[in-house]
């Protein structure tokens, strides 16, 4: 009775609040930053450690010979984020989906919530990978983007995946997470969960529903607009809002997006470029509308700020995806890839979707959520129905079509991109 036990008899399941809350906020955390001087920074500070190996071209033969040497082990170590998996409400350290995996395969999962943000976790494992040692983790969850998981991919520090061991992925994965631009052919990663970046707003203050990217430029909202001070989010959001696709936009498009954002700033539209604290200003009415992460708005709703709404602009918005990957040197790669396959099994995906409530990579698990809802009673039923009908867990095809990932910048493009967009919020 995994499902109905999970639900508490109060309106919205706390799991939703927990799951939809933006666990990714601290990535650019200003105050945490002071303490998180990464090991990578120190290594490079010590007089020019020369570069890491360039993206290694991996031949199919090498992949096969690697995997032919991997065998079943008693279990694997899984590095994850806090509050990022289903929990048994009676025992928070018990995770039903992992128990089910152990029952089915005999492999134990050492589930460790050790990742607080991409930068500092990568900073922690980078020096270890650099010297060719094992990080101690067999599976990690990291966000897409050239500065996050792309960094490890480029350096050749991830184990290429053997897709013959991932039949569920081929069969059940959502089209959006198959063959993504940041990892063509899913060579190194498969998606864990995704989320949207759109506009959060308070209709009482704006006086109308917000539907468009252009609303962020309406002079009526002068000084009441919040934007994100994030080098990937802000430019990608502008590109998608202007009708380009952030994944394929050219440098000429970038310039137009920069001009548009500059113009918005110079016109005094923007109250502030927020690192992560935009939600306070939005719920206090300091801003009326703001670039926002879907999870934050949901949590704000659940914790009292009922007025706030979230919309993906009709022109387009951003989607981010957290990915499962196996770092080089993993001792239990076989178990890890077995688990990767497991999370794409619809029954397992349903258990996780009911507990995590981000965008599941397995749309077909919805029928399981529905049947669980039909079996449940009272508020539990309400909660499961709410999840099953929630476009933030099961987005429509239209929402998928209108959202794009961050561009897969090359190391030569990164400084161009940064020089173009940084001055917008760095002032």
């Amino acid at each position: 009775m995994l499902m109905s036990d999970d639900l508490e008899p109060t309106g919205i399941d706390p799991a939703i609040i927990r799951g939809l809350s933006a666990r990714r906020v601290t990535r650019r955390s200003l105050l945490a930053g002071a303490g998180s001087l990464g090991a990578a920074a120190l290594v490079s500070a010590c007089g020019g450690v020369s570069g890491v190996s360039k993206k290694s071209k991996v031949s199919n033969g090498a992949v096969q010979s690697y995997w032919s040497k991997q065998h079943k082990t008693p279990g694997f170590v899984f590095a994850s984020w806090p509050l990022y998996i289903d929990v048994n409400p009676h025992n928070r350290s018990d995770h039903p989906s992992l128990d089910r995996f152990t029952r089915m395969t005999g492999m134990k999962v050492k589930y460790e919530e050790v990742i607080q943000d991409d930068d500092s976790f990568i900073g922690k494992i980078e020096p270890i990978l650099k010297v060719g040692q094992s990080t101690g983790y067999d599976l990690v969850i990291l966000e897409n983007g050239p500065l996050y998981i792309g960094r490890l991919m480029d350096a050749g520090w991830l184990v290429p995946l053997d897709h013959s061991k991932l039949p569920n992925f081929a069969k059940y994965a959502a089209a959006k997470v198959k063959n993504p631009s940041y990892d063509p052919g899913n060579k190194y990663t498969v998606a864990w969960q995704s989320g949207f970046t759109g506009i959060g707003y308070n209709p009482k203050l704006t006086g109308r529903e917000i539907t468009s990217f252009e609303d962020l430029f309406d002079p009526k909202f002068k000084g009441k607009v919040g934007m994100l001070a994030d080098i990937m989010e802000l430019p990608s959001f502008a590109l998608n809002g202007m009708g380009y696709d952030s994944e394929t936009a050219t440098e000429a498009d970038w310039k137009k997006a920069r001009d548009k954002l500059m113009q918005q700033k110079n016109a005094g539209m923007v109250r502030k470029y927020y690192e992560q604290d935009y939600i306070q200003d939005l719920s206090r009415g300091n801003t009326w509308l703001s670039m926002a992460w879907s999870g934050d708005i949901f949590q704000a709703n659940a914790s009292g700020a009922k007025d706030l709404k979230f919309v993906i602009p009709k022109e387009g918005g951003n989607i981010w995806t957290d990915n499962l990957a196996i770092p080089k040197g993993a001792a239990n790669a076989f178990d890890a890839i077995t688990y990767m396959n497991y999370v794409y099994e619809p029954r397992a995906a349903a258990i996780m979707a009911e507990g995590i409530n981000y965008i599941t990579p397995v749309p077909s698990c919805r029928s399981y959520v529905r049947s669980d809802a039909a079996k449940a009673k009272g508020s539990a039923r309400q909660t499961l129905e709410y999840i099953a009908d929630n476009p933030l867990v099961f987005p429509t095809a239209d929402e998928y079509a209108h959202t794009h990932h961050f561009p897969n910048l090359t190391s030569a493009q990164i400084p161009v991109w940064e020089n173009m967009f940084e001055p917008i919020y760095q002032s």
């Binding site: 001087l37 020019g48 890491v52 360039k54 500065l147 190391s411 990164i414 940064e418 760095q426 002032s427």
Partner: protein, 305 residues
Amino acid sequence: MSTVEAVEARSGARRGRRTRRLRATLAPYGLVLPGGLWLAIFFVAPMVAMLLLSLQTGNIISGFQQTLHVATYENVVRTYHTELVRSLVYGLIVSAVTIVLAYPMAYWIAFHGGSRKSTYLFLTLLPFFVSFLIRTLSWNFLLADNGLILGQLKSWGIVSQDFHVLATPFAVIAGLTYNFFPFMLLPLYVALERIDKSMVEAATDLYAGRTQRFLRIVLPLSIPGVFAGVLLVFVPASSDFINASILGGTNTTMIGNVIQTEYFTNNDYPSASALAFVLMAILLIGIFAYARALGTKDVLEASAG
């Protein structure tokens, strides 16, 4: 006493004197050694590392190489001169405002505080028992556009609906002033408190009026305190980044925020280090110019006191 003995005794005394003189010469070095080593290890070493870092080229993905790429300095100054100038201007304003606010207060406590001097000082420091981060964040809460204070003023129609304090330069400067106030107050108090009251009495005996007494006795004698206070306020205020990020808005970014972002977000360590050095150089030049203007003697007294 034979001549031989006398000669030996004299040379023995000379030897003893020489050892004593040697010890006397070395003693100061011995005293300086522990602190000097501490500074060498924890101040000079990171400084050298930072300097080398600022001259590197490369990026986080392909690694950094040690070069002598001084162009980074030119580049960061060109890109961020607005923020540099803004930080220095904010620092100057904050120093001036804290002097204006703290001087009368320090004067009153020093000259009229009586037996409760330490109580008054303690009271001024009381807020600092709470983390300044929490205090700054609570201003962010109190001053919300429709929050406790402004919401009430707006409902009474005292200020216009559009009026806001947060996200303005005023908010940032006020926050800095609030946070650095005691760093001005304490050195001013120490300088004023040291003034020998009999000097003021002597001035009175010589028919100096209140204004004359203040301008010719109290003020000159308190200048070391002003210098120390400005040093303690101006330097950290111009490199602060907390106030700008919590209370500021679109055009209030200070150089500390830029360095912070360059380092932790963009992992552009050379640019961040170069900016830090530029800021340090400007502050050092500024302080030396300021020291010259106030007179070296006063400055030495300030550092001695």
